[in-house]
């Protein structure tokens, strides 16, 4: 029973291998297999989420070695939630990729797609810091391939920057992991949370340095100021389904901050408690200001969407930096919302780009898109959701974050930055909407290509999550509150991981 919990990691790996072996069967077979594996993963993660509702920790000892000697996988509410939204986003992105023939632009799209999911799911489930590094590398290597899928000058240039900064990030990760191991003598997250309580006074500086170095690494993944420069170009110039899937990639960094820093440097860490929180808050505020300016300054719609993703990451950083249980609950609500809406926006940007021919998604006068009411309506709803206006989920997410911030010392700074950034995004998106849909040539040279309805369904599917999150706000916030409570209850996490006994007793 317990071993089933490891399937979300194993299934994409097996899927990737099977699809690689079926290379000769043609693209149709690969699509079918990839769709099958992704939908199976969706079902499995849905089941995992349902299992996690009980509040139990599912701890899997790899190789049946007891923690902290062996590597553990832990499935709790937070991990199960991340796995489920990854699978849902991946299904939509894959559906779009298949219906627009994006996967035919290069080789091995489907293999890389599954390996990407393998890396993501592994990172969300692992309970070991070095294992987290390994899964980061797996997901990064797959993301390099996906980012460069299709080729092209701008894509190659953005890809080169992305690869180099992530290699630097990996090196820093190893430095941080090495230092923490040298100081604490363990790499199991639960065991590290125990060891950090008894760090000698003279070693605290070194441990703090390692903790902040780790924050830099997760900051690169999450695109935190000043480490976000790679994101706008990398996301703007890759293919749409990949950019949509990457909406979850920045969240890996945020998840790691919640999991690693939240658990190890939590309130039980004595003098080292919350060494990271103020850094995250300040850098989050700066990131949000710069992201809002980027949204206003962007010259093409895809780049604007990339800055919108950055703004949502910054809002989440602020919420994590507020550092309370209510703020964590709000973080999770906003995280679900921003992942789906960000993914949908990248797909919509691609629909608009294709429909406008040579004008692509620049803000110039062009032929009107096919079915402007449908596409424009979806654009308006997505803009409302991402900029945080009522009645869609972005508004409720931001309101919960601000509500949690009231008790914080810096409430006014947080309030002003979030609201001003929201206003700037509304203005910029209103301008984008009028330029793309109203300011069109009266007599088009040639009619726009017909809307790809099957692909558009993926955008509708992601969009529908937003009103659903509002309608089901009560049970959903109940779940996020329980998740936040479980995440801040370090004692039971440590107990669950360290007390888990191997299945077979060692024969004496």
């Amino acid at each position: 029973m317990n071993q089933f919990a490891s399937f979300p990691v194993l299934l994409p790996l097996i899927g990737g291998i099977v699809i690689l072996l079926s290379q000769r069967a043609g693209i149709g077979m690969q699509r079918l297999l990839n769709l099958g594996f992704t939908l199976l993963l969706l079902l499995l993660t849905g089941w995992g989420l349902q299992q996690s509702l009980s509040g139990d920790y599912q701890v899997i000892l790899l190789g049946d070695w007891q923690a902290p000697f062996g590597i553990v996988m832990v499935l709790d509410r937070l991990s199960a939630l991340m796995l489920f939204i990854t699978a849902l986003l991946a299904s939509a992105a894959l559906w779009y990729a298949i219906n627009t023939d994006t996967d035919k632009q290069g080789h091995h799209f489907h293999v890389l797609f599954q390996i990407q999911l393998f890396g993501l799911n592994g990172a969300f489930m692992t309970g070991d810091l070095f294992n987290l590094f390994v899964f980061f590398e797996v997901l990064l290597l797959a993301s390099y391939g996906l980012l460069l899928h299709g080729g092209g000058r701008l894509r190659t240039r953005a890809g080169l920057h992305y690869v180099v900064i992530n290699l630097v990030g990996s090196t820093l990760f190893l430095f941080a992991v090495g230092t923490l191991y040298g100081m604490l003598g363990t790499l199991n997250i639960a065991d590290m949370a125990m060891a950090v309580q008894s760090v000698a006074a003279e070693d605290r500086g070194v441990v703090t340095a390692a903790a902040l170095l780790l924050l830099v690494v997760f900051g690169i993944k999450a695109a935190m100021f000043p480490l976000y420069m790679w994101l706008p170009n990398a996301y703007a110039y890759t293919t749409a389904p990949v950019a949509a899937l990457f909406a979850i990639m920045t969240k890996v960094g945020l998840y790691s901050m919640i999991r690693v820093h939240g658990t190890i440097f939590g309130e039980s860490a004595g003098d080292l408690a919350f060494v990271h929180s103020n850094w995250i808050l300040v850098l989050g505020l700066i990131t949000l200001v710069l992201a809002a300016l980027g949204v206003m300054a962007a010259r093409i719609f895809r780049q604007q969407v990339a800055y919108l993703i950055l703004a949502s990451v910054a809002t989440l950083l602020i919420a994590i930096g507020i550092n309370s249980q209510a703020a964590l609950s709000a973080t999770l609500y906003y995280l679900i919302h921003s992942t789906f809406i960000g993914g949908a926006l990248f797909l919509l940007a691609d629909v608009i780009r294709v429909a406008r021919g040579t004008h692509a998604d620049t803000f110039t006068k062009s032929t009107p898109v096919d079915q402007p009411i449908l596409v424009g309506g979806v654009f308006m709803l997505l803009a409302i959701a991402i900029s945080g206006m009522p009645p869609l989920s972005g508004f409720f997410g931001k309101m919960m974050i601000l509500n949690a911030a009231i008790v914080h010392n810096w409430f006014w700074a947080i309030l002003i930055v979030i609201l001003l950034a929201g206003l700037m995004m509304i203005v910029a998106l209103a301008r984008t909407g009028s330029l793309l849909f109203y300011s069109v040539q009266a007599e088009p040279e040639k009619p726009a290509p017909a809307l790809n309805k099957a692909a558009f369904a993926a955008i509708i599917m992601l969009l529908v999550t937003s009103p659903l999150m509002v309608l089901l706000a009560k049970p959903l916030t109940g779940f996020t509150e329980a998740t936040a409570a479980q995440q801040t209850d370090h004692r039971s996490y440590i107990d669950a991981v360290l007390s888990r006994q191997p299945v077979t007793e060692v024969s004496k």
């Binding site: 590398e137 190659t156 240039r157 080169l160 180099v164 190893l174 090495g178 191991y181």
Partner: protein
């Protein structure tokens, strides 16, 4: 010996950072490789420096060295090796697609320089004709 190891790590890291900040892709690749070497030695020393002690259980041994960093270094070496080879291929791809080996690809290739010079010439002749 601590000083020697620390100096080795420091020099390799310093060179690695310097090379990574260069403007051409080849020094960047070299810099990342040096950084990877530095971090491997660093990881290795995190199990504390021991000489002549076995990492696995041995009845005759007087003490043990920490086996975990050795396993970590092995993993890190394999990953760094794979990543470096990927980066080299990508740098070659960028060299052929962007026409030069600048990390921003900002300097134009010979063909483009020719084309833009030609365009400029045309513009100036047009202005003259006006």
């Amino acid at each position: 010996m601590e000083w020697l190891i620390a100096a080795v790590i420091a020099v390799m890291t310093g060179c690695g950072v310097f090379l990574t900040l260069r403007a051409r892709t080849f020094p960047v690749v070299m810099g990342l490789t040096l950084l990877a070497y530095a971090v491997n030695v660093f990881l290795f020393t995190m199990g504390r420096l021991q000489i002549g002690l076995p990492p696995v259980i041995d009845k005759a041994a007087s003490g043990y060295t920490d086996p975990l960093p050795q396993a970590l270094v092995l993993t890190a070496i394999v990953i760094a090796f794979g990543m470096t080879s990927f980066l080299i291929v990508l740098a070659l791809k960028a060299r052929s697609e962007l026409g030069n080996d600048h990390v921003d690809g900002m300097h134009k290739s010979a063909d483009e320089r020719h084309a833009s010079a030609h365009k400029k010439q045309q513009q100036s002749t047009e202005e003259l004709s006006k």
